[in-house]
Amino acid sequence: MKFGKEFKTHLEETLPEWRDKFLCYKHLKKLLKHFPNPTPDFNLHQNYHHDDDDDNNNNNNNINSMDGLNNHLPTLVDLQEWFIKILNEELEKFNDFYVDKEEEFVIRFQELKERIERLKEKSSKGGVFTSESEFSEEMMEIRKDFVTIHGEMVLLKNYSSLNFAGLVKILKKYEKRTGGLLRLPFAQLAVRQPFFTTEHITRLVHECEANLELLFPLEAEIIESNPSTQDQSNPPPCNATKNLSETSSTLGGETVYLYRSTHAAMRAIQALQKASSTSNPLSFSAFLRNQDEEGTGVVTAENSAANSSASLPNDEEDDQYDSHSV
C-alpha cells in the first residue's frame, strides 16, 4: 500500500517525459485483485478431475483430457503464463528506455568533454578581455550542462532501482495472491536485465563528478565565505527549503524539473527504507536496522565520506521533505 502511494507521488513529480516509462504498478496491482484466490478446495477439485481423466485416458489421448480440463475455470497456470507475459512486456519497456537513455548520456557526456577541450584551446590562443567573458559564459554553460547530465543519469539509476523494487513487490503480491512461485526466478531474471545492470551509468556519474570538481574552481572560495552551509543537523532543514526555491529560480527552466525530480526521488527512496507494514527479514528496513546494530562495513549515508550534509538521519530528512511541498 505504502509503496504504491510513494510510487505514485514520485511519478507525479518526476520528469514528465519519463512518466509513462515506469512500471505500471497500480494497474498490475489491480490486475492481481482479479486473480482467483486459490483455496485448497479449488485445487483439490482440479486435481481430482485430473485423476479421473488420466485414469480413463491412459496413453496418448491427452488432447481429450485436455478438453475436459478446458471446461473448468482458467487454471492458475494459464493466468500465470499470461501474467508473465505482461511482466515481460514491462521488462522490455524498461530495457528499451534504459538502453536508449544510456546511449544518449554517453553521447552527451563525450560532447561535453569535447567542448571543454575546445574551450581550453580557444582560451589559450585568444585575447584576454573578450575571451574572458566568453570563456566564463561558455564555462558556465558547460558547468550547467554537466550538472544537468549528472542529475539525469542519477535519475536514470533511480528509475532502474524503483522499477525493480516495484517489480519485486508485484511478484510478492502475486505469490501472496495466487501461491504461484514466480518471485525468485523472475527476480533473478530481472537482475540480469540491461535496465538493472547500471555499472556503465555509475561509471559515467563518477567521471562526471570528477570533472565537475575540476570545473568548479570557485567552490573553495564559496566554501570559505559560507561556513555555515557546511554544518550539519538542524540548520539544513530551513536552508534546504530556501535553497530549493533559490536554486530553481537562479538556474531557470529545465533545471527546475530536474531539481524537483531529484528531491522526489530522494523521498521515494527514503520511504522505501522505512519499515514496511509487513514484517520481512529481507526488507530494506530490516537490513538497515541490522546495519545500525551490527555496524557492518556497508556504506550508509551516515558513514559516507563524500557529503557532510548526508549525515542527517533519515527521519529528520523525511520530516523535512514531508513538510516541504513541491
Binding site: P38, E81, K85, E138, V147, V168, V191, P194, L212, A265
Partner: protein
C-alpha cells in the same frame, strides 16, 4: 530400461547419460507454461532456456503445494531449485563474462559465451525430449521411487497429497544430474567444484544481455500436463535452431539490444572524424571503419542520428557566444550572477550526489536480497539433493537386485 550409466563426467559419458532419457525435467506434468514460455523466450541462449525449462518443472508443484502441510516448504524448495539451476548456468558463464567486459560490444560477447554450453545442453535436451515422448504414459505415482532409474513422468497434480517430498527428491536429483551434465559440458575450468560455483556467483559480475522478447501466444496453449509430447518436439526444434551462435544473435524478435559504452562511442567518433565529421559521414562508412564485430548498420545509423542532434545544439550556442562582445561593466555583472549561478549549481550537485549515494545503497540492498534468496534456494536444493540421493540409495537397496556399481554411481552423483 538399463541401469543409469555412471556419471563419469567424461563428455561421451555425459551424452550417453542424457540419451538415456533424463526426462525428469521435462516431465509430462509440465503445464501450459513451457510452450508459451518457449515462444516467449525462444531466442534466449540455450543455457537460459534449459534453466527455464527446469524452472517450469517446478511450477506444477505449486499446485501440489497447497495441499500438504509442508507444502509451502516443498513449493519453495522447488522455486529455489529453479533459481538455482538458472544461476548455475550463469555461474558457469561468469568467468567468460568477466572476459567479455573488455570487449566494447558487450552484447556480442555474451552471446558468444552463451553459445558455449548450448551445443551440449541442446544435445542432451534433444535426446531427452525424444526419449521422453515414449515415456509419457507412465504415471508418476506408481513409478516414482521404484522406477527412478527410468525417469518417470511427473504428474504432481495427481499425487499431490502423497509423497510430495519424494517428488521433491526425484525432481531435485533430476535437476542435479542435469546440472552435472552441464558441468561436464562446460569448460573444465569452470566446472571444477561446488565451492567455486557457490562462492563465485556474484550477480554483479554477470552481464549477459538477455533479450526478453514478447511472445505471441503459442498454438499449443491448451496443452496441459499430459500433453507435453506435443510440446516437446517443438522444444527440441527450437533448441536445434538456436544452437547456432550467429543465429542466436540474429534471431531475436526484438531489435538487438546494443549497449553503447564510452569506449565504443569513442571508436565511433574517431571513425566519424576520419570521414569528415558528423554531417559527411555515412553509416556504411562508419561501420566499415569501426570494424566491430556484430555491429550492424542499423545500430550505427541510429547512433549517428543521435550524435548529430547532440552536436547541433552545442555548436549553435557556441557560435552565438562568439559574436557577443561584452563591455567591462557587463563583465563584472556577469561575474556576480556567475557566483550565484555557481552556488546554485553547487547546491544542486550536492543534492544529486546524495541521491546517488542513496541509490547505490538501495541498489546494493536489492542485489543482496536477491542474492540471499538465491543462496537460500541453493541451500535448500542441496539439502534436497542429499535427501534425494539418500532416498535413491535406499530405493535401490529395496529393489533387492541392485549391484554395488549402481549404488556407487548414485552415491557418486552426490559428491561430485
Amino acid at each position: 530400461m538399463e541401469a543409469r550409466p555412471a556419471l563419469s563426467f567424461q563428455r561421451p559419458g555425459a551424452k550417453q547419460l542424457s540419451s538415456m532419457g533424463m526426462s525428469g525435467a521435462l516431465s509430462s506434468s509440465l503445464p501450459v507454461l513451457p510452450t508459451p514460455l518457449e515462444e516467449t523466450y525462444p531466442k534466449l541462449p540455450d543455457s537460459q532456456q534449459v534453466s527455464m525449462e527446469r524452472e517450469l518443472v517446478t511450477r506444477p508443484l505449486n499446485h501440489a503445494s497447497h495441499l500438504s502441510s509442508n507444502s509451502s516448504v516443498v513449493g519453495h524448495m522447488f522455486s529455489s531449485s529453479s533459481g538455482f539451476s538458472t544461476d548455475l548456468h550463469y555461474s558457469s558463464l561468469s568467468p567468460h563474462e568477466k572476459h567479455s567486459r573488455h570487449s566494447p560490444f558487450i552484447s556480442q560477447s555474451s552471446t558468444n559465451v552463451a553459445s558455449l554450453p548450448i551445443t551440449h545442453s541442446s544435445g542432451s535436451l534433444q535426446s531427452t525430449a525424444s526419449h521422453y515422448a515414449k515415456e509419457n504414459s507412465a504415471s508418476w505415482q506408481t513409478d516414482s521411487l521404484s522406477s527412478f532409474l527410468d525417469f518417470p513422468v511427473n504428474n504432481p497434480i495427481e499425487n499431490s497429497q502423497v509423497e510430495s517430498s519424494s517428488c521433491n527428491a526425484v525432481l531435485a536429483s533430476e535437476e542435479f544430474t542435469k546440472w552435472a551434465d552441464q558441468l561436464i559440458a562446460d569448460d573444465d575450468a569452470l566446472a571444477s567444484n561446488w565451492n567455486e560455483l557457490l562462492g563465485d556467483t556474484s550477480v554483479t559480475d554477470l552481464e549477459p544481455k538477455m533479450v526478453f522478447p514478447v511472445s505471441k501466444s503459442s498454438p499449443n496453449f491448451q496443452a496441459h500436463q499430459s500433453q507435453v509430447p506435443l510440446q516437446l518436439p517443438a522444444t527440441s526444434e527450437e533448441i536445434r535452431t538456436v544452437a547456432n551462435p550467429t543465429s542466436l544473435a540474429n534471431s531475436a524478435p526484438a531489435k538487438p539490444r546494443m549497449r553503447w559504452t564510452p569506449e565504443l562511442h569513442e571508436a565511433f567518433v574517431e571513425a566519424v572524424n576520419l570521414l569528415g565529421g558528423s554531417e559527411r559521414a555515412t553509416p556504411k562508412g562508419v561501420l566499415k571503419l569501426m570494424k566491430v564485430e556484430g555491429l550492424t548498420i542499423y545500430h550505427v545509423k541510429s547512433h549517428l542520428q543521435k550524435y548529430r542532434t547532440a552536436r547541433y545544439r552545442p555548436e549553435s550556442s557556441e557560435g552565438s557566444s562568439d559574436k557577443k562582445l561584452t563591455p567591462i561593466e557587463e563583465m563584472s555583472l556577469d561575474l556576480k550572477t556567475g557566483m550565484e549561478i555557481t552556488e546554485a549549481l553547487r547546491m544542486q550537485m550536492e543534492v544529486q550526489k546524495r541521491l546517488h549515494e542513496q541509490l547505490e545503497i538501495q541498489r546494493n540492498l536489492q542485489l543482496r536480497v536477491e542474492e540471499q534468496r538465491r543462496y537460500l534456494g541453493l541451500v535448500w536444493t542441496l539439502g534436497n539433493l542429499c535427501i534425494g540421493g539418500i532416498l535413491d540409495c535406499w530405493d535401490l537397496l529395496a529393489l533387492g537386485n541392485t549391484n554395488l556399481t549402481d549404488l556407487g554411481k548414485v552415491a557418486a552423483a552426490l559428491f561430485v
